[in-house]
């Protein structure tokens, strides 16, 4: 799937080390050593943004290289899912991506860690 170039540029401007890759018809964006919101532990971790419906039924998803502790406990219902030959973890958090820019989808997923 193609994303508008201005959205890609916006993501790149915020995260200069961002990578993309495609697997099974789904495009992912990998941000290495992503700085998590204050109060999270660890403070930085690789994250993988899936801006479209993921293969586990969510309209969009943010995966983490490991489970993250946050001020409010989250429902980590995806544990060790294999994407791009790595194991990833995700909490249950629904962000419908319709009409949102890539960076907005990312921000809305991160909101779960801040509440």
């Amino acid at each position: 799937m193609q994303f508008p170039s201005e959205q890609i540029e916006e993501l790149k401007a915020a995260f200069p080390t961002v990578f993309s890759a495609e697997e099974g018809g789904t495009v992912y964006f990998l941000i290495p050593e992503f700085q998590l919101p204050p109060g999270s532990s660890p403070i930085a971790v690789d994250v993988l943004l899936c801006p479209t419906a993921d293969r586990h039924g969510y309209p969009s998803r943010l995966f983490f290289a490991q489970q993250v502790q946050s001020p409010k406990p989250l429902n980590w219902n995806t544990n060790g899912v294999r994407i791009l030959e790595r194991n990833w973890y995700a909490y249950s958090w629904k962000v419908t991506q319709q009409g949102l820019r890539l960076i907005q989808i990312l921000a809305l997923h991160l909101k779960a860690l801040q509440t």
Partner: protein, 440 residues
């Protein structure tokens, strides 16, 4: 061990191209391009991802050899290897039946060519590939190694599947295979040499393990992180009351079952989720999946397509609506790399995945029964044997069987008549091997 896997569509393209007559050369040559991945214990899996023929004008008229190509042709192969970091294998055909081998000229003249290409892309695996009408021979120059190494296992992945086992010295107890000799002269060799992966050793996987052992399969990697409970005993073949009491790992029950039939079998027991030991899966020539969720099926399909392994999925569900009697139904699907995937076949859909994510429908353990699992497992084993031996000469396209336990029927799914795609858009050959991350 080094294994070379060739998608059927590239093998077909390669043969068609190489068998065309040339205006003056006695034979044609070409290059196949490859990616490689590590498997367990330092093994290597080489995956063919492209083929390029040599234009007529790039042949040199030399009656002393079958074909000689000019430096422009070699430079193009070097350029692609340099740009894409793929490996390059020089390929040609020896037009006869049986195992081919390199001629004196092949050995003398092609090794320097491969060394040159390696200089352009030193971290890739390069080599030589010779095809005969029904077999192949290959050697590889792997990173950090100066000499060419023999490739023990060459397979053509597609319909029909061809697994060329290098070690022809594998001992075959002929009496062991006498009642299934109709599978073909080389069937015993193929079955003994084929490395099978089974994910999930519960109601479905235990049947599959048992049947494959009876058929004579001898190399297994089996994956399950679970242990036996008394609720499993209604369907776990080989599981005993004592296993439930001791919480024996399911992989141990399956290994015991296989060894009981085939004491010489090599079994790698992986008592963890397959995702936590994914490198061990890559060695398999064919994978059976007997898992509960749609999401996990998708994950297995992705992993098996990446490394060119046919994936046979079985599953069973019991539904009850209102006052009607329960309906028990299931499926057997062969997801063949390069062919239609489970999404193309309409089996995996976003709706199913999202309902599963929301835990839509009845919660709790899914009903499973031994007799229905047996039908699905037997069907999957039958498809695998046909795929590997081609004994029916008829397995040439998608396999999606629909099982209705209430009526006792298993038949091709009606969706097969209405497929929209002829080619799978989800798994292009460019995505073979380890993932490629592009810096934005």
């Amino acid at each position: 061990m080094i294994a070379l896997r060739i998608p059927r569509q590239i093998e077909r393209e390669m043969r068609e191209s190489l068998m065309r007559p040339h205006p003056f050369a006695a034979e044609r040559v070409g290059f196949v391009f490859t990616k490689w991945s590590r498997s367990k214990d330092g093994g290597k899996i080489i995956l063919v991802c492209g083929y390029e023929s040599i234009p007529d004008d790039d042949y040199i008229n030399d009656p002393n050899v079958g074909a000689r190509i000019n430096s422009a042709a070699i430079r193009r192969a070097m350029q692609r290897a340099l740009t894409t970091r793929e490996g390059a294998f020089h390929v040609h055909v020896h037009d006869h039946g049986g195992a081919p081998g390199p001629s004196y000229t092949d050995r003398q003249e092609l090794r320097p060519v491969m060394q040159s290409i390696r200089n352009a892309s030193p971290n890739a695996v390069h080599g030589l590939l010779i095809l005969s009408r029904d077999a192949a021979w290959a050697e590889a120059l792997v990173p950090g190694c100066q000499s060419l190494q023999g490739i023990e296992n060459i397979s053509v992945v597609g319909f029909p599947m061809v697994v060329l086992i290098g070690d022809s010295a594998l001992p075959i107890e002929t009496d062991r295979f006498s009642r299934q000799s109709f599978l073909g002269a080389s069937a015993a060799q193929i079955i003994i040499g084929c490395h099978v992966g089974i994910i999930g050793l519960g109601g479905g996987g235990s049947h599959i393990a048992q049947q494959l052992a009876h058929v004579g399969f001898s190399r297994f990697s089996i994956f399950d992180n679970d242990t036996v409970e008394s609720s499993n005993l209604n369907r776990l073949v080989g599981g005993t009351h004592s296993d439930a009491k001791k919480r024996t790992p399911k992989v141990s029950v399956a290994a015991r079952l296989i060894k009981g039939v085939n004491p010489g079998a090599h079994i790698e027991k992986v008592k963890s989720r397959w995702q936590d030991a994914a490198e061990r899966l890559r060695d398999c020539d064919i994978v059976f999946g007997c898992v509960d969720s749609y999401a996990e099926r998708r994950d297995i399909e992705i992993a098996t397509r990446r490394y060119l392994m046919p994936y046979l999925d079985i599953g069973l569900d019991v539904h009850q609506a209102g006052i009607e009697p329960p309906r028990m139904a299931g499926q057997v699907i062969l997801s063949m790399p390069g062919e239609l995937c489970m999404s193309c076949l309409g089996f995996l859909t976003e709706t199913k995945l999202s309902r599963e994510a929301e835990r839509y429908g009845a919660a709790g353990p899914r009903p499973q029964v031994v007799w229905a699992n047996a039908v699905l497992a037997s069907s999957a084993v039958g498809i695998a044997i046909d795929l590997l031996t081609d004994w029916t000469h008829s397995l040439r396209g998608p396999v999606y069987l629909s099982y209705d336990s209430n009526t006792g029927t298993i038949q091709p799914h009606k969706r097969l008549q209405f497929l929209e795609n002829q080619r799978c858009p989800h798994f292009p050959l460019s995505q073979l091997g380890d993932p490629t991350l592009s810096r934005l």
